[in-house]
């Protein structure tokens, strides 16, 4: 006999598989007849996004029978609460957090790793996702989260302001800047009286680290060097960015004061060119502001676009309830399958590739811009000290912005502070 194992012909195998599948399906249907668990879910999607999430969750509950008890807390407070609650075993079954929070939460033991076998068994595969979003859930070789969507930067152009500045064509369409020189030239033409030409940031442009990071990445610089141990902010490429940060306020004088509310200024027609998060555009439409969406211009070497994907993750529990964990997985699966709805209503582009060819999405001019930037997406570095470094960065870049401190000294100082961060 060539092998001792019973002869497993292909036919028998298929029969067995079919039988197994039927049993599993019947079993699942029987299980769904049993009571479905209720799972707790914390996220930071307050405001308008939250209501859309509510609708989707209601739909999920109708289709699967799984109820979700949501706690929505403003992001900064959400993270504080997670850090207090999870060690006391009072955390939720499922949480939605930002990519950059994953490393420090994972390193503190707040999150549970997702085994690769489970992840692929639930149908999540690398090729379905854009690389930067698939990688974002990893820390030290382990996966801790699955990406949902990709909030990112884009350039908002105020039609009214540009028209008044003479920067619109005969058809009323405003000119779109692609490079730094174009941007500054247009901004200078716009800036007069109480109207400003250019700004980066929703509020407080002086301390908008997300914008600063965007510019750093465009110039090939980053907060940490490649080894993630020493700060890269002392490099000349970072210094160049800091000098630009100071110049738009102090030299070119095209940017509003450090604590201006840029979003309100844009809505009121007092700001012409505005780089800010994609999450603003639904609000702009609601406020009936006329604007054109454009890709983030190439201010430095590359046209890199800052992103901060939302990630689904499982906070640690002392004892994992299998039914609840399955239910949580079911929700992630369902949301990923229905992410086109999320995109259309909340304005957040998905991390999954498939909806990117959905004609409802590609038909919208803003989504077209956002999707077009996909090749330029970049996210924060996977070090637990990222958030701490970011908090140190804020006051320093604000000082640079208002001209209180020269760029070189400030960057050197910041690099020193970041290097001194304890582990």
């Amino acid at each position: 006999m060539r092998d001792a194992t019973p002869r497993l012909t292909r036919r028998r195998f298929l029969e067995g598989a079919a039988l197994g599948a039927t049993t599993v399906t019947l079993g699942a249907r029987r299980a769904s007849a049993q009571a479905k668990p209720t799972i707790t879910y914390w996220n930071g999607l307050t405001g308008a996004d939250g209501k859309i999430m509510d609708e989707l969750i209601d739909q999920f509950t109708r289709e699967t029978g799984i109820r979700m008890e949501q706690q929505r807390i403003v992001w900064a407070d959400l993270y504080a609460k997670l850090q207090v609650a999870v060690p006391a075993d009072e955390g939720p079954d499922l949480a939605l957090i930002h990519t950059v929070e994953v490393p420090h939460f994972a390193s503190d033991g707040i999150l549970e790793p997702m085994a690769d076998a489970t992840t692929s068994a639930k149908g999540f595969k690398a090729e379905d996702y854009l690389p930067s979003t698939w990688q974002g859930g990893m820390y030290q070789g382990k996966r801790y989260s699955i990406a949902l969507d990709v909030p990112q930067h884009l350039l908002y152009i105020s039609t009214k302001v540009l028209k008044e500045a003479g920067l619109a064509g005969a058809d009323g369409k405003p000119k779109i800047p692609g490079t730094r020189d174009e941007l500054l030239a247009m901004a200078k033409q716009i800036t007069k009286g109480d109207t400003y030409g250019f700004s980066i940031g929703t509020t407080n442009p002086g301390r908008y680290t997300w914008g600063f990071h965007n510019l750093l990445w465009q110039n090939g610089a980053n907060v940490y060097a490649a080894d993630l141990k020493k700060s890269g902010l002392g490099e000349p490429s970072a210094l160049e960015v800091a000098e630009f940060w100071s110049a738009i306020q102090n030299q070119h004088k095209v940017a509003p004061p450090a604590n201006a509310n840029c979003r309100d200024a844009f809505i009121a027609g007092k700001l012409g060119l505005w780089i800010a998060g994609s999450w603003n555009f639904t609000g702009l439409r609601e406020a009936k502001v006329e604007f054109v969406a454009a890709p983030v211009p190439k201010i430095f070497k590359q046209a890199t676009v800052w992103t901060m994907p939302h990630q689904f993750t499982f906070p640690k529990k002392k004892a994992v309830d299998a039914a609840k964990r399955d239910a949580a997985w079911a929700h992630i699966r369902w949301m990923s399958d229905h992410v086109a709805e999320w995109t259309l209503k909340a304005g957040q582009v998905s991390a999954l590739r498939k909806p990117h060819s959905d004609p409802r999405i590609t038909g919208d001019p803003v989504f077209r811009v956002l999707l077009g930037q996909a090749a330029q997406w970049q996210s924060g570095q996977p070090t637990p000290k990222w958030v701490a470094a970011e908090n140190l960065t804020r006051p320093v870049i604000e000082n640079v912005y208002i001209g209180q401190k020269p760029a070189a000294a400030a960057m050197g100082d910041l690099a020193r502070q970041i290097n001194a961060l304890p582990d």
């Binding site: 002086g206 450090a258 309100d264 009121a268 320093v396």
Partner: protein, 290 residues
């Protein structure tokens, strides 16, 4: 009667002290203990590190800067926050018309939460679209961002705080002024004393315990200021308005989650406020009796 008398004070104190001991003293002492460890939120194990957290504060320039900012705020805000409600209270107590409306008007801001106050003033003072900016510009005053200028940011915060809390101190002063018998003022008027004179020789001395209370409460509160600064400037521009409690809060609940460090900061703050308060008590002890 004697034996009952001996226990009486303690019986009166008992309910409050039990509440206090359990929910204040115990957590405070635990906080003190934590200040000598490397406690971090999210990590169960804590290692005793002696005075390391306190020693680190000597190198923490941001902590020191925040102490300076907080002291500056406390001293700079004392006169406006103490004097404005007092003057308003004296005027209201004199017997002006429309008293209820006036009292309600000054008190109303106090009913708003710190976030509402912060957001409202942030908007009012916005350098691009804020109403105050608009009207000042229309009046020909050169536009500046009060909150983004290190020289004026703290004063803008003080202005906001005066607006917010005057109403409450007004109520406290009014309650104190009620206790001063009318007859004293009448007697003084008969003796020919004018308004200012009776204010200084009757009102102020009799108001002393109340004034001391307001002063000490204000100092304690100022050293712990956090909410409105956080919303208005987030400690900026740069670190110009960063306060101690903000530094403490960020250390404990954001990026670092270093609870041991934060506790050490809190106890250092405690010692400083204690010193200030003892000073005030001693300076103003004087007459606590009628």
């Amino acid at each position: 009667m004697r034996r009952r008398g001996a226990f009486t004070p303690y019986l009166f104190l008992a309910p409050g002290l039990v509440l206090f001991a359990l929910f204040r003293v115990y957590p405070l002492l635990e906080g003190l203990w934590l200040s000598f460890t490397n406690a971090r939120l999210g990590r169960a194990e804590r290692v005793f590190v002696g005075t390391a957290n306190y020693a680190r504060l000597f190198d923490d320039t941001r902590f020191q800067l925040s102490l300076v900012n907080t002291a500056y705020y406390t001293i700079a805000s004392t006169v406006p926050i103490l004097a404005v409600p007092l003057l308003l209270a004296v005027a209201l107590n004199r017997g002006v018309a429309l008293r209820t409306f006036l009292r309600g008007a000054f008190f109303f801001p106090f009913t708003l939460s710190v976030v509402t106050v912060g957001l409202t003033w942030l908007w009012l003072l916005d350098p691009v679209i804020g109403p105050s900016t608009y009207y000042l510009r229309a009046a020909g005053v050169p536009v500046r961002s009060w909150l983004a200028d290190p020289a004026t940011a703290m004063w803008a915060i003080i202005l906001t705080t005066v607006w917010w809390v005057t109403g409450y101190y007004l109520v406290i002063y009014l309650a104190g002024l009620q206790d001063i018998p009318r007859e004293l003022y009448e007697a003084a008027a008969i003796d020919g004393a004018g308004g200012w004179r009776s204010f200084w020789s009757i009102t102020m001395p009799l108001l002393r315990p109340v004034f001391l209370f307001v002063l000490v409460t204000h100092v304690i509160g100022s050293f712990q200021i956090f909410g409105q600064v956080f919303v208005l400037t987030n400690g900026g521009p740069g670190d110009a308005t960063r306060t101690v409690v903000q530094h403490l809060y960020e250390t404990a609940f954001q990026n670092f989650f270093h609870f041991g460090s934060a506790s050490a900061m809190a106890w250092v703050l405690f010692v400083i406020i204690l010193a200030f308060s003892l000073l005030q008590f001693r300076l103003l002890r004087g007459h606590t009796q009628y």
